[in-house]
């Protein structure tokens, strides 16, 4: 796992943990977007989403083995491999997510809401078990292809890898924002999210917008899978479960159904995660032992006190 606790004290320590938190947050945000996009359109919590993310990490491990990658790459080789991995990771997760919708959720569209939810849990088990059959149950190291170079700014080490991940995540989020805000299909998705029946009356093919939500959500989770392999570098069939739950917490914290909320929530949870590890270190067992309780405590508190999340809907629907 990562070296979580920094060694220096004071503000340097704080900013070091912050740098880590932003990196984790970028990954949580990418996965949280998948929960929120799907929830926004069909009000389904896609509990298989974490495993869709996990499958990107697994396939990328298999590809890196097939390519015989072992050590650090540089120059064009690194750029080429990153582009290839990004394309494969996004394609795998997008395809998987879309297939799940087509095979499992679509036929439950008119069923009581609990039915697709249980189906999602079932799909999650299936994906985890197939992954376990494929790579076994152990933790497998992902080759450290990315150089470990870091910038040193007043003693705070800012790794090039973390900058890359932040840039990639922000780039994808910007692309998503432009897609949703300015394209016709994006507008149709927003309309469907607000009122599916009214959207259908405008001529929107609702099945197509649902397909797009799963496609985009999956692709973003696939990109997060690449980031995860580069940062955490441990591939395991069960990774998606907890990572997915934390990303789901981020989506709820930010305001589920709101894409900006998912981004804000993702970064917030990532930063809270990294800081908690450090600053709750005085607790028995250390901060690492408590961080999950803290994150899921935030989930509970959000659901109790502000279920619409920090960026919940501001404009009420007038009846």
């Amino acid at each position: 796992m990562l070296e979580f606790a920094a060694t220096n004290g004071g503000p340097v320590l704080f900013f070091q943990q912050l740098e880590l938190g932003i990196t984790l947050g970028a990954m949580y945000a990418l996965v949280a977007l998948g929960y929120t996009l799907v929830y926004g359109i069909i009000e389904l919590i896609n509990f298989a989403h974490g495993d869709v993310f996990m499958w990107s990490t697994v396939v990328l491990l298999l590809v890196s083995n097939a390519l015989g990658l072992k050590g650090t790459l540089g120059g064009f080789a690194l750029i080429g491999v990153l582009i290839l991995f990004l394309a494969i990771g996004m394609a795998v997760s997008a395809f998987l997510n879309v297939s799940i919708e087509r095979l499992a959720y679509r036929r439950l569209r008119k069923a009581p809401r609990l039915a697709p939810l249980i189906a999602a849990v079932g799909v999650s088990f299936i994906l985890e078990n197939i992954a376990q059959l494929t790579i076994g149950s152990g933790f497998i190291a992902f080759p450290p292809i990315f150089p470990t170079t870091a910038l040193n700014i007043f003693g705070v080490k800012i790794s090039i890898l973390h900058i890359f991940i932040f840039g990639l995540a922000v780039g994808l989020m910007y692309a998503l924002d432009r897609f949703i805000q300015t394209t016709k299909l994006g507008r149709a998705m927003r309309a469907t999210a607000q009122d599916p029946e009214a959207a259908a009356l405008m001529g929107v093919n609702v099945n197509r917008t649902i397909f797009m939500a799963f496609l985009i959500g999956g692709a973003l989770a696939g990109a997060a899978g690449l980031c995860y392999n580069l940062v955490i570098a441990q591939v395991n069939f069960f990774t998606g479960f907890k990572f997915g739950l934390i990303a789901f917490t981020a989506a709820v914290f930010g305001g589920i159904g709101n894409v900006y909320g998912a981004v804000a929530g993702g970064f917030a949870i990532g930063i809270i995660y990294a800081l908690s590890i450090q600053y709750f270190n005085f607790l028995p067992g250390g901060g690492v032992a408590w961080v999950d309780a803290i994150v899921f405590g935030i989930l509970v508190l959000t659901l109790v006190f502000r279920p619409s999340g920090i960026l919940g809907q501001q404009v009420p629907d007038k009846v």
């Binding site: 927003r190 309309a191 607000q194 009122d195 029946e197 259908a200 009356l201 405008m202 404009v315």
Partner: protein, 234 residues
């Protein structure tokens, strides 16, 4: 132009429409009257494929549309102003109108359509960038009507467009319907305000617990005893 032939429809175990037959001819304004829960909105939803038919046929310009998806029905040249306005509250006025023109791909046609709506409702032009959810009920109703008109439908169906509006705005809605008709658009109007609806309509149907019980010209319905007793205050 639009024909419902013995249409039966409902939700779950409940059958709401029993053999509803009605006809709207090219260029007409036809009113569909009825009390609450008579099946007026269900009739509209059934025409637009939001509620599936269980029997009978729906024809538009001679072709069956009752097994089509809503988007395919819209593509034929129908538009609905839904009950309760149903504007996209978190979108701007212009975005709402662009949604109305969703089936249209030609940018210039869309812009022309929006300008046409803005000429009809200058208030909407002033509020071009405003979020629809922040507007008054009357403005939202204008937007809902405008959104249906942007696509230049040949038949526009309106589900209680005057509901919950002040008398002045109700008048504006009915004036607008007459303007729309002058443009050559056929109108099917569901209303509780029977007096006003029949005043601008050519013909009317009265729906009661899912059955058409009366079908006549608007003038005759205005003096019909049943209608007067039930909807026009005696």
């Amino acid at each position: 132009m639009l024909e419902l032939q013995a249409v039966t429809a409902g939700y779950g175990p409940a059958e709401v429409l029993h053999q509803v037959t009605l006809q709207v001819n090219q260029g007409e304004v036809v009113s569909l009257l009825g009390a609450n829960a008579a099946g007026k909105t269900t009739t509209m939803k059934t025409i637009f494929g939001l509620v599936p038919t269980r029997g009978g046929q729906i024809l538009f310009e001679g072709q069956r549309i009752d097994k089509l998806q809503p988007d395919q029905i819209i593509a034929r040249g129908l538009a609905l102003v839904p009950e309760g306005r149903r504007v996209f509250s978190r979108m701007s006025v212009r975005e709402n109108l662009e949604m109305g023109a969703y089936m249209q791909n030609d940018r210039t046609v869309i812009t022309q359509g929006i300008d046409l709506v803005y000429d009809l409702f200058p208030r909407l032009r002033e509020r071009d960038k405003q979020l629809a959810g922040t507007m008054s009920g009357g403005e939202q109703q204008m937007l809902a009507i405008g959104r249906a008109l942007v696509a230049r439908p040949r038949l526009i169906c309106m589900d209680e467009p005057s509901l919950g509006l002040s008398p002045l705005l109700v008048q504006l809605v009915f004036d607008t319907i007459q303007k729309i008709r002058k443009e050559g658009v056929t109108v099917l109007l569901v209303e509780q305000n029977a007096f006003m609806a029949l005043n601008i309509a050519d013909r009317g149907y009265v729906l009661q617990t899912g059955r058409i019980i009366l079908n006549d010209t608007a003038q005759k319905l205005l003096v019909n005893d049943t209608v007067r007793a039930a909807y026009l205050g005696g």
